[in-house]
């Protein structure tokens, strides 16, 4: 009581000095408040951002590892043709690698096995895509008439025509096959074998809703069912229907791209129109992955199976030219479940050459880049401010105590215990710093929201500038995506997946490198093999641009703890000084 009273009196007596300390502490506290609230908000954003939304994930091959293995094992020669069509491949290693990649593709059974291995609730859907060729009576929508029923020549004929649609469709078709397509979620991996049409089988409505070409609406008829009853039913795009003058109820006949004698008869049960326009450029990677969005024929998985075109069947037969690309997507309730699933499948025996990826999570992560930078900045700010604050407080307190040596002497001489004197000094400092912290928190709370948003905006714009400059650099760097890929691919054959595909495309098609690479690298980027750089600029990332840096009780609590810590540290100086004081010294202090 005596100590408290005395401390309070002393505080009120030395107004000038204490106001100075209050101001210093307030500034420190305000900066610390902003720093802490930014960190807090960044943490919250990270935690809650994906907690409530569903997350989709895919399993894809880690191609760099596959490539290594392939390089080690392969010495075989060039001519063996592989699934991804181009027979005119001159570089021997490519085919070996493609073979390795193809064999690395997981089967439907594998996917389902891993789904069962999950310890968290997971739902899934999948789609299977294959290429089919048209017949005389049923032709794809195309601006030129160079359509051919032969798949092996289709890509070359496409490329030679070099008109926008068919060109851009051709390369991603080839680029898609490996892990990239899967890595990109639904986007990448449509086309293994180039036919005139993409025949895609869906497992459920969810799968249809997530169709590569985007959402669509039915203009007439209805979507097929998924049971075997509805086998043979397909829906086609309105453009295709108009082009071939077809209506609901008509039947169409398509052929196996590798064997024109095999024909499939399908019944049109509906005609759809893509909600997103058929302009493939606007769709970016998605539009590019199918021959043409208009040439996509949708059906059920069951239909594909009945036609012998499903992935399990095609994987087992020896016909390399007919391969069905399987896109299997897991759906989780939140990002945590995704993380759990990723570790579960590893335990369930997923080889190292595969990775579980989620475009949702990765997109979200990259949208958080500015926020992360801001949080780092906030941490630096916090550390600097606290270090400086501690030093300033200690120095001030040191001078303060030295000045008050006489007071210590008098107090101990009249019988106040040293511990009490030390406590009094500490409490004085505490009262002052708490006032400062209260002011600082108030100021910081008022300033933190606008300041942190300002800082975040700066981070976002710098991020965007960086991305833009990268894009500019690479765009100017000439035939771009193809350049890094093709160069390395041809020189030492260590090219990554998209490299090989782009070298393919450039070999077969020289005229469209720009459009092809933009289509190409975009799907590959989410695949993660290429690292963040390409993904950084190709993906239109919607950066988190606001931050809710309001000061909550947690921040205030942390600040008070920090304040207590700082006060104790600086009070320690005074305490040591007082405890070392000998009361006898008062006889020498004759001020």
């Amino acid at each position: 009581m005596f100590v408290l009273k005395n401390a309070w009196k002393t505080v009120t007596r030395n107004k000038g000095r204490n106001i100075l300390i209050v101001i210093i502490v307030a500034i420190i506290a305000a900066a610390a408040t902003i720093g802490l609230s930014i960190r807090n908000a960044a943490d919250n954003a990270r935690e809650t951002g994906l907690a409530s939304t569903t997350v989709t994930a895919t399993i894809s091959a880690d191609r760099s590892k596959l490539m290594e293995q392939a390089r080690e094992s392969s010495s075989s020669s060039s001519s063996s043709s592989d699934s991804s069509s181009s027979s005119s491949d001159s570089a021997p290693d490519f085919s070996a690698m493609r073979a390795a990649m193809e064999s690395a593709t997981l089967s439907l059974a594998d996917y389902q096995k891993y789904e069962k291995a999950s310890s968290v609730p997971v739902s899934s859907y999948y789609s299977e895509s294959t290429g089919v060729s048209g017949t005389d009576s049923f032709q794809p929508v195309e601006s030129t008439s160079s359509n051919s029923a032969n798949s092996s020549s289709s890509s070359s004929s496409d490329s030679s025509s070099s008109s926008g649609d068919s060109n851009s469709s051709g390369q991603p078709g080839q680029g898609g096959p490996g892990g990239d397509g899967q890595g990109g979620g639904d986007r990448g991996g449509m086309m293994m074998t180039s036919g005139d049409f993409t025949l895609t089988g869906f497992s459920s409505d969810t799968a249809v809703a997530k169709a590569q070409n985007g959402t669509f609406t039915m203009t007439s008829g209805e979507v097929f069912g998924y049971g075997s009853d509805d086998n043979g039913k397909v829906i086609i795009s309105k453009a295709l229907a108009d082009f071939n003058d077809l209506e609901v109820g008509d039947t169409i006949t398509v052929t196996n791209p590798s064997d024109t004698s095999k024909t499939y008869t399908l019944t049109i049960c509906g005609i759809y129109e893509n909600t997103t326009s058929s302009n493939t450029n606007a769709m970016g990677p998605m539009g590019g992955t199918s021959q043409d969005a208009d040439n996509a024929i949708y059906t059920s998985v069951s239909t594909l199976k009945s036609l012998g075109l499903d992935s399990t069947t095609t994987a087992n037969d020896d016909d390399d030219n007919t391969t069905t690309q399987l896109t299997y997507t897991y759906v989780f309730d939140n990002a945590d479940d995704y993380e759990t699933f990723a570790s579960d499948v590893k335990k369930a025996g997923l080889a190292d050459t595969y990775t579980v990826q989620s475009a949702d999570v990765e997109n979200y992560e990259s949208s958080l880049v500015p926020l992360d930078n801001l949080a780092k900045f906030a941490l630096t700010l916090l550390i600097v401010v606290l270090a400086v604050g501690a030093v300033v407080l200690i120095v001030l307190n040191l001078f303060n105590i030295r000045e008050r040596k006489y007071e210590v002497g008098v107090l101990t001489a009249i019988g106040v215990k040293k511990a009490k004197v030390a406590a009094q000094f500490a409490i004085e400092l505490l009262i002052v710093t708490m006032c400062g912290i209260a002011l600082g928190v108030a100021g910081g709370a008022a300033a933190s929201v606008p300041v942190s948003n300002q800082l975040l905006a700066a981070q976002v714009s710098s991020q965007e500038t960086q991305a833009a400059s990268q894009q500019e650099q690479f765009g100017r760097g000439a035939d771009m995506g193809g350049a890094p890929g093709a160069n390395s691919g041809s020189s030492d054959s260590s090219g990554s997946s998209s490299d090989s595909s782009s070298s393919d495309s450039s070999s077969s098609n020289s005229s469209t490198s720009n459009s092809s690479t933009s289509g190409n690298s975009a799907p590959s980027a989410p695949g993660g093999d290429q690292g963040g750089m390409r993904g950084g600029f190709n993906r239109a990332v919607d950066y988190v641009s606001t931050i809710n840096a309001t000061v909550n009780l947690k921040v205030v609590g942390q600040l008070i703890l920090i304040g207590l810590g700082l006060t104790l540290v600086s009070a320690l100086v005074g305490i040591i000084f007082v405890m070392r004081y000998e009361p006898l010294q008062i006889l020498a202090d004759r001020s």
């Binding site: 005596f2 005395n6 007071e407 101990t412 001489a413 009249i414 019988g415 106040v416 008062i586 001020s591």
Partner: protein
């Protein structure tokens, strides 16, 4: 305002201490006693005091005199409990101070008037006095400010001095405040270091009158360290410290 009323107004919470004070006032038991006290600043170093024996009784004014270097200030610090002797004991009411809580002793049992007063200059007269009262931990039956006002009157200062800062007071006035502070918690022993050192003769007499009154009327043991012959002459006893005899080393 008589000294008796002051005495009545200060209620010691410690009944034993009150009884002891009364007892020492009546009997010849010494309040403070030096028992073969020697002191050196460092162990085995030069002895500033050697084998001193003396008994201080209640109700007496004792002057400690001696030439410079005889150890007057050292004796003062020993008696006030600021330090402990190297050899021998300082006994307060029969208890060895070296083993007692000397902070408590300083805050309750002895009032020291330092040569340089050692008042806090930033505080007012009343605040200085009340600070000592608070530090003693004793309870008072009246507001401390009121007691401080009585003490100010007792040392013959005008009441308006109460709220004056020490900084604004002269040496003689500060001396009186220091005395008032020493009396505020009603200690059994008053110890003054050169209380008249820088005062004029008239003030000296005044101060000495106060001390004599404290001893004779209130039964306190008043010990004055001084080299002034006038002060020595005005006291009941004189304890002469001789210049240290060298062969003690």
């Amino acid at each position: 305002m008589t000294t008796a009323t002051i005495n009545d107004t200060i209620n010691e919470t410690n009944a034993d201490a009150a009884a002891d004070t009364a007892a020492t006032a009546r009997t010849d038991t010494p309040v403070l006693e030096l028992d073969h006290v020697s002191y050196s600043y460092t162990k085995g170093g030069k002895k500033v005091l050697a084998d001193k024996n003396y008994k201080f009784h209640a109700g007496r004014v004792v002057s400690i005199t001696g030439p410079s270097g005889a150890g007057k200030t050292t004796l003062l610090s020993l008696l006030s409990g600021l330090t402990t002797p190297s050899e021998g004991k300082v006994l307060y009411q029969g208890n060895d101070l070296a083993k007692a809580d000397r902070y408590r002793y300083r805050s309750r049992d002895i009032g020291v008037i330092f040569q340089s007063f050692n008042l806090l200059p930033a505080l007012t007269v009343a605040e200085n006095i009340i600070l000592s009262m608070d530090a003693s931990g004793k309870k008072f039956d009246r507001p401390k400010k009121e007691i401080a006002a009585e003490l100010i009157a007792k040392v013959r200062l005008q009441p308006e001095y109460l709220n004056e800062r020490i900084l604004h007071l002269s040496g003689g006035e500060q001396q009186r405040v220091a005395i008032a502070r020493a009396l505020s918690y009603d200690p059994a022993v008053i110890l003054a270091d050169e209380p008249t050192g820088n005062l004029d003769l008239a003030t000296q007499d005044d101060i000495m009158a106060i001390f004599r009154s404290l001893a004779h009327d209130e039964g306190k043991s008043v010990i004055i360290v001084t080299h002034s012959p006038e002060v020595a002459a005005a006291s009941d006893e004189v304890y002469q410290l001789a210049k240290l005899v060298r062969h003690h080393r």
